[in-house]
Symmetry: C2
Subunit: 530 residues, 2 copies
């Protein structure tokens, strides 16, 4: 019986060392280290490809850009989903389900929006062996599916606010390099779509949701993010403005958009005729928002915390928070073995009572060392070992996945110490990632400073005149060869604005844009990006 469904016995080429069995004469004992071959610093791209597979989070599929989310990964999405769903319900948002398919007519209702998505839309043209009367698009996002209904459902100010959300799959047939979690042609997300009577309510919700997205990253995934507003070039096609949580991947020196909360203004309500009668009897167009958060976040978590031994998952979201490994040495008698198993069961029960997600790994065909590798590869935050010496001393040995630090804890203290330690691990992981992020953002005021910082694979906070043409120019000028940068793709990639951070440094009067020399309007965060 496998430890849990979906965890296979390791493949034949990584056979575990049989324990306590007589070795055939002359046969070499194979004890192969599981999984990882590349290192994070040595070859990040290869490391990432391996770690998502070896940790059994992802399997590759015969359709390019589509991936299997195995239980070990899906459990993380479930934790995020449960938390976020409860939070938005508190705000009065309700879940619904709108169709997967969109007619061509509906899709083309809002001009900017369709221009932004048209090239990536997948079209169904046949069923069985016959052509459909008219082709159907698969949703890349559901504005054009939902808003005709918002028109029907919103007649009076009393119908507002209307706040719906759905947890779905969407399809965007991109041709950029696919990467598990980070960029795939089908992905899972939630999309919230809300309508208000006033601009003020819409603005307020945009930020409430953005704060929730920041909390998913920081509090659940232990990933630090910068909250900001997208430049007009980078905002959502058809939106008034877009707010974003931006993460950063130090190993590639690239920013990554973590989730977006858009104010659509009245752009869509004008296109879709979503009008209502106001309290004083006049007619007005609704103010709308839409906001989405995807499975990409799991990839950001992996890139942030993983190491050369595998993924490292924060306690808040890991399917198994503590793995308990009894170590019955072959010298132990039957009684001692039974006592160890009983103690392990007691500790397991106590930890479950404390509300923790515990697993006991008592598989008898693997060595302790093999099991340590196995669970480290999968990123379980805490390991609890129970060996013969621990049994004699009445203690258990706790080992942290993030730091490797070990501590011995008396049995009576385990149920109190473990939750405490998990909290510490959670906050330590965020603090470490935050410290790293801080070293990766440089504040500069000149073009030279900007390019030097990019060269160091950093993001750059620089004063900007907030003109789209200048942003395009920066992208062109910052692209180009860099002999020192190993990844050619990154070396030639230009930098764009990741966001205009909500938290702005002081902008002294007379500060000039680092790129155009015109008066600066704000500090923008720039970088290469995913």
């Amino acid at each position: 019986m496998p430890l849990h469904a979906g965890e296979p016995t390791p493949q034949a080429d990584a056979a575990p060392a049989p324990k306590g069995k007589a070795k055939p004469a002359g046969k070499k004992q194979k004890e192969t280290k599981l999984g990882m071959r590349a290192t994070k610093d040595g070859d990040f791209s290869e490391w990432y490809s391996q770690v998502v597979i070896e940790s059994e989070m992802i399997s590759h599929y015969d359709v390019s850009g589509c991936y299997i989310l195995r239980p070990w990964a899906y459990a993380i999405w479930d934790e995020i989903k449960n938390w976020f769903d409860a939070e938005i319900k508190k705000l009065g948002v309700q879940n619904a389900y709108f169709p997967l398919f969109i007619t061509e007519e509906a899709l083309t209702t809002e001009k900017d929006h369709v221009e932004g998505f048209a090239a990536e839309v997948a079209w169904v043209t046949k069923s069985g062996s016959s052509d459909l009367d008219r082709p159907l698009a698969i949703r890349p996002t559901s504005e054009t599916v939902m808003y005709p209904f918002y028109r029907d459902w919103i007649r009076s100010h009393r119908d507002l606010p209307l706040r719906l959300n759905q947890w779905t799959n969407v399809v965007r047939w991109e041709f950029k390099h696919p990467t598990p979690f980070i960029r795939s042609r089908e992905f899972l997300w939630q999309e919230g779509h809300t309508a208000f009577a006033t601009r003020g309510e819409a603005d307020a919700e945009v930020h409430t949701i953005l704060d929730l997205y920041a909390a998913i990253y920081q509090d659940l995934l232990a990933v630090p993010v910068v909250r900001g507003v997208k430049s007009s070039k980078e905002k959502f096609a058809g939106a008034l403005y877009t707010t974003t949580v931006e993460a950063f991947i130090p190993h590639t020196g690239r920013g990554i958009q973590g989730g977006t909360s858009h104010c659509l203004g009245q752009n869509f309500s004008k296109m879709f005729n979503i009008e209502f009668e106001t309290e004083d009897g006049t007619r007005a167009h609704a103010w709308q928002n839409s906001w989405g958060f995807t499975t990409r976040s799991i990839g950001v978590m992996i890139m942030t915390h993983g190491d050369d031994r595998g993924v490292v998952i924060p306690p808040r979201v890991c399917a198994v928070q503590v793995v308990l490994i009894p170590i019955p040495s072959t010298k132990l008698g039957e009684e001692a073995r039974a006592a160890m198993a009983a103690r392990a069961a007691e500790i397991e029960a106590a930890l479950k009572t404390a509300g923790l997600r515990v697993r006991v790994d008592d598989r008898d065909n693997y060595t302790p060392g093999w099991k340590y590798n196995y669970w480290e590869l999968r990123g379980v935050p805490l390991r609890l070992e129970l060996g013969p010496k621990d049994m004699e001393a009445g203690v258990a040995m706790l080992a942290r996945r993030d730091t490797g630090a070990k501590e011995s804890v008396a049995w009576a203290d385990v149920a109190a110490r473990v939750p405490q330690l998990l909290d510490t691990i959670q906050s330590d992981m965020l603090a470490k990632a935050k410290a790293t992020l801080d070293t990766c953002i440089e504040q500069v005021t000149t073009w030279e400073g900007f390019m030097a910082a990019l060269e160091r694979k950093h993001a750059v906070l620089a004063p900007w005149c907030d003109e789209e043409s200048v942003e395009e120019d920066v992208k062109r000028r910052s692209a180009g060869k860099d002999g020192e940068n190993k990844d050619a793709r990154e070396a030639t990639m230009g930098a764009k604005t990741l966001c205009i951070p909500l938290e702005q440094p002081e902008l002294p009067e007379g500060t000039m844009c680092f790129a155009s020399g015109k008066p600066a309007k704000n500090w923008a965060l720039w970088g290469r990006s995913y």
Copy 2:
């Protein structure tokens, strides 16, 4: 502010009676009864079309056979999902997510399976304005997506059992008459796919899951079902055998498949090469099951319990279990109004503390009568009224949606009485539906008896020789004109086996098949069906 998101002010053609406002001279007061125009007994089909719309569960979409699941409906799916997901987790099943798309090659791996689904598969052939290299099917069900991975993941008996589930959307491009919830081209479901080392384990799980499906219908939705095995003609394409929960719709005299749990035997493991090394070192093919439950169940619930005033939803799954309606008559002074509002708030808080889902409807622009209609249309199980006389007497008036029965309860007893009453409503609803079902199943032994029962729009338990050709013959012979049956489609529809019930009446030796005259092998439940 609407009562809850997605609940619009009623349309202009059903304007509420304004309360306490001066009526413009000469203008007629419009107080229109909300929604329902058809009656369940008078025109069931029309009644059903109206009730799903008027209760705000469904909206129609510009793609035929696709529907919007509005929050009022989606909340029921969420209740079902949460309950079933927790139950299967207890069994050790884990959730994952496999892709939406299937290559032609993968889809055609299991011959019978693809024959069963080929005509209904939707094909994506383009992205943007270009053709795809090869067309991609949208999953009608995920066996062919998942089983290549089961082959990779299952090598040894230690990898078994493998038990995965996913909550997804699927697409079946059918041409039969679409009906909200009951038959749609895209629907939501869960699909469980499990693999075992032995036939015995597979058989056991098939029945464990079937019992859970029966529990969803009986305990959550208050809908009685018959558990049984499908005939070989009716079983899942490619399965060894299929078990099912069958419901019955008395108004149309048609059985309806409620959920199916299949033993695939080794049919798929042989096609997909899912082999493993057994404990004694030999090789064997895995024994597999798959099981699915869909949003159709919500339609069955509506058809079973709804009445001429709207849907009637069982307390276990209704988004709002109790609606509290304060009735401040216009004669009340400010102080009395405030006292009433305060009492309503106290009762609401007490019921929430008792774990109930409560809503207070204190909208001041609708009459009490209008509100009663509103919530009855939506099927809220219990209404709690608080009028001036109730305030004087220190009581609240409870009104049941299912029976209309009313009772007066002292405030101090409300928090205890309401949960009790909801439990009673839940079991009464099931008991009533079960009593009706019992009158709709006739046990016969002859062809004449069979046809007479069908004529009465009943299902028929009849002894059968269990031969596929005989089943086909029964379908042909039982189709045909019936002058008395109003619905032409039903009059010409032949009867098929709904299932061979697990609970079998005694079959005396020498009993002959009602249709073929050959020796009967079992009692089969026959009927017209959806």
